[in-house]
């Protein structure tokens, strides 16, 4: 069982996300994370889904996803060289001077941006792979995380290769 990152190219139409998500839930496939948005083609969207499962399960996931009429292409990026990113916003307690300084230092090391400064809190924006964001969250926990939000993972193949409609 390891996480697989699937890149799913779909028609940009109402209800497509619910077709994909509904198929996952009724067939008992677990979605670890999901991100959806427009892509380079105006009439298509790209969904990045992270699923957990052994190879047989992931093969079924891909085949069943492919059967949906509005799904144009499904690729497993885990098998190939790809860049993967998530983005997180973290509101962390920073009431005292020393804490504030330490948080800013940590942010610097993680190349996180300070996107809001309040009297008692800082909001950091960090991008990276899952592990990096997990690590930052863990480090900031000692100061008190007030709120934490992260996007689903998005991913692209490295180099000139693309996940495109093959038809």
């Amino acid at each position: 069982m390891k996480p697989h990152t699937l890149s799913v190219l779909v028609e940009n139409r109402a209800g497509v996300l619910s077709r994909v998500a509904g198929m996952f839930s009724r067939r008992g496939f677990n979605i670890e994370s999901l991100a959806v948005g427009t892509c380079e083609e105006p009439d298509m969207s790209r969904i990045t889904i992270v699923v957990n499962g052994d190879d047989g399960v992931v093969e079924q996931v891909m085949k069943q996803t492919n059967k949906l009429i509005d799904v144009i292409k499904v690729s497993d990026l885990t098998q190939r060289e790809s860049v993967e990113r998530e983005l997180a916003l973290i509101k962390v307690a920073a009431e005292t001077g020393p804490a504030r300084a330490e948080i800013l230092q940590i942010a610097d090391i993680f190349r996180a941006l300070v996107v809001d400064v309040g009297a008692k809190t800082l909001v950091l924006q960090v991008t990276g792979d899952t592990g990096k964001i997990d690590a930052l969250e863990k480090l900031l926990r000692q100061y008190g995380i007030k709120e934490f939000v992260r996007t689903g993972k998005i991913a692209l193949l490295r180099g000139a290769k693309t996940v495109k409609s093959s038809k």
Partner: protein
């Protein structure tokens, strides 16, 4: 200019629709107004579920797309069981539903239901049309999706303002359909085909396991040629009955939970299993680990998702069953010598014939055997679900594809009578018989009304044991005979039939069976036969749930 409703009717005619099964209501009034003087025949059912089953029965008997129509809300929801039935058995149906006007969508308006949302898991695809200008394209796509690839139901939801709004007449209709997300594979991969042929050439104990996909792709002639050329015995699933003649010397009948001993033993002992248009359903395989334990498996199916879903296969061939069988035949150079294997199977056949008690009592198997003997394959047999279905599958000899119509995957009680109505309109030249139980016939018995109104010559054979027989059988075998809510009070079905103006006969003795069936078939109109059969007769042989398929109970040995 023309209305959306008019556009819809013309689009349906372009798809060759001659019959629609439906039930009117508020938001489909514009469509019904167009149907009023249309050349399309509309059959008014008594419940929308029956409209969906009738469209499904029409599709199974004809091979064409069946069409049903219902209003929004409750009408659409009542179609759902029928749509799910068609989906599980891969039957091409287009379901048309009315919807509240687009301005009211999502407002909990009167008779609003989110039918595209509700049917998403049980349709191959569905549409909510929001612009009348899309009707032509959507109808064309829906029929294309329904009948191509692995067939299945497609639903089109039509808000009332879409069917009343005006569309520019003379707008060109797309000739062909091109969907970049839907490109079924029809031709099998040549290398895989040669791998399969290599296995077949070396096989000592090959077996074909054929299913509904053979019927759907119209591959009966190819399958017959293939099995005869290579001298390979064949067993069929419930859905595959009739794909090859049931009385063919190489045919072993049905396999699985209520399969024949010879079929189940053959699966267990074969060394190459050629699975054709099947999906390794749990009712076929029993305990999956022990299914075909010694065999290299070749799996031919048009749906890539079925391959490897339940059972790991050695040679996957994605493609249309007919096209793949043609390629196999074309490329086959040699095949193994199966004479020993065939004689071993023949010995099983002789040792373990199907059979039942012959103490003179009226048994359901006898009724089905007589029906089979009288019709000799020249009829369309529809069944309900339960014991009646299994007895028909075992004791009726199906000789041609599309002469056996039954709800396999979903196992929908109440399917038979409305499906028989649909089958009649698909094959008016053939006698249509619905074999029913007293439980399942009562699930859609209101359709006697439809049968009577249109004088549809459907013959209903009720195997009346005053039980929900299959459940009772499981309670007898696995729940210590605790018959919890499975006993039904006696019903005089002939009286019900008569109330609708349908003729009928009640038969309680073995002697009267043949005569009654002949009388029913000779009658011009519909006919109901109420056979009062042995109440606690069981369907045997049987593989208990979770057992291997060669571990059967209720085995008779000669």
């Amino acid at each position: 200019m023309k209305t959306g409703a008019r556009t819809l009717i013309e689009a349906l005619q372009r798809e060759g629709v001659d019959t629609i099964f439906g039930y009117p209501g508020g938001v489909v009034l514009p469509i019904y107004d167009e149907l009023y003087d249309s050349s399309i025949r509309h059959i008014l059912v008594r419940h929308e579920q029956a409209a969906a089953h009738a469209a499904d029965g029409y599709a199974r008997a004809s091979g064409r797309v069946g069409v049903c129509l219902a209003t929004s809300g409750p009408g659409a929801c009542n179609l759902v069981t029928g749509i799910a039935t068609a989906y599980m058995d891969s039957i091409p149906v287009v379901a048309l539903t009315g919807q509240v006007p687009t301005a009211l969508l999502g407002n909990d308006a009167f008779q609003e239901s989110d039918i595209t949302g509700i049917t998403m898991p049980v349709t191959k695809h569905n549409y909510l049309v929001k612009d009348a200008a899309d009707i032509d394209r959507v109808v064309r796509e829906a029929f294309y999706i329904a009948r191509t690839g692995r067939p299945g139901p497609v639903l089109i939801d039509l808000p009332k303002d879409v069917t009343t709004s005006q569309v520019k007449a003379g707008t060109p209709v797309p000739e062909t359909v091109s969907l970049r997300g839907y490109q079924p594979t029809y031709q099998g991969h040549v290398r895989q085909i040669d791998k399969a042929l290599d296995l077949i050439a070396r096989a000592e104990r090959p077996l074909i396991y054929a299913g509904g996909g053979v019927v759907l792709s119209g591959a009966s002639a190819e399958l017959l040629e293939f099995m005869e050329t290579a001298a390979i015995p064949v067993t069929t699933t419930l859905m595959g009955l009739g794909a090859v003649p049931g009385d063919h010397p190489l045919c072993l009948g049905m396999l699985g939970m209520h399969g024949t001993q010879s079929a189940n033993y053959a699966v267990t002992e074969c060394d190459v299993l050629i699975a054709v248009g099947v999906r390794f359903d749990d009712r076929v395989t029993g305990r999956i680990e022990t299914f075909a334990p010694n065999a290299a498996i070749v799996h031919i199916d048009i749906d890539p998702a079925e391959i490897g879903k339940n059972k790991k296969v050695d040679v996957p061939i994605v493609g249309d069953v007919r096209a793949v069988l043609q390629a196999l035949l074309r490329r086959m150079q040699k095949h193994g010598d199966t004479a020993n294997w065939v004689s071993r199977i023949n010995a099983w056949k002789a040792q373990y014939p199907l059979g039942y008690g012959d103490d003179g009592h009226l048994r359901p198997q006898y009724v089905v055997e007589q029906l089979s003997d009288i019709l000799k394959g020249e009829g369309v047999i529809v069944s309900e679900v339960g014991q009646n279905q299994m007895w028909t599958a075992l004791y009726y000899c199906f000789r041609k594809p599309r002469t056996w119509i039954t709800s396999g995957g979903l196992g929908t009680m109440g399917y038979g009578l409305p499906a028989a109505i649909g089958a009649h309109y698909a094959r008016p030249d053939m006698p249509v018989v619905d074999v029913a139980g007293d439980g399942s016939i009562q699930m859609n018995i209101q359709e006697f009304g439809t049968v009577a109104q249109y004088d549809i010559p459907v013959k209903v054979v009720i195997l009346n044991n005053m039980y929900l027989g299959m459940v009772r059988q499981w309670q007898e075998l696995f729940y210590d005979r605790r018959y919890s809510y499975t006993e039904l009070p006696p019903v005089d079905f002939v009286k019900i039939a008569n109330a609708y103006g349908i003729e009928g006969i009640t038969v309680g003795e073995k002697d009267g069976v043949r005569e009654a069936i002949e009388a029913a078939l000779a009658a011009d109109g519909p006919f109901v036969l109420d056979f009062r059969v042995e109440r606690e007769e069981n369907v045997f042989p049987m593989v208990p749930a979770g057992a291997a398929i060669n571990e059967m109970i209720g085995v008779r040995q000669r």
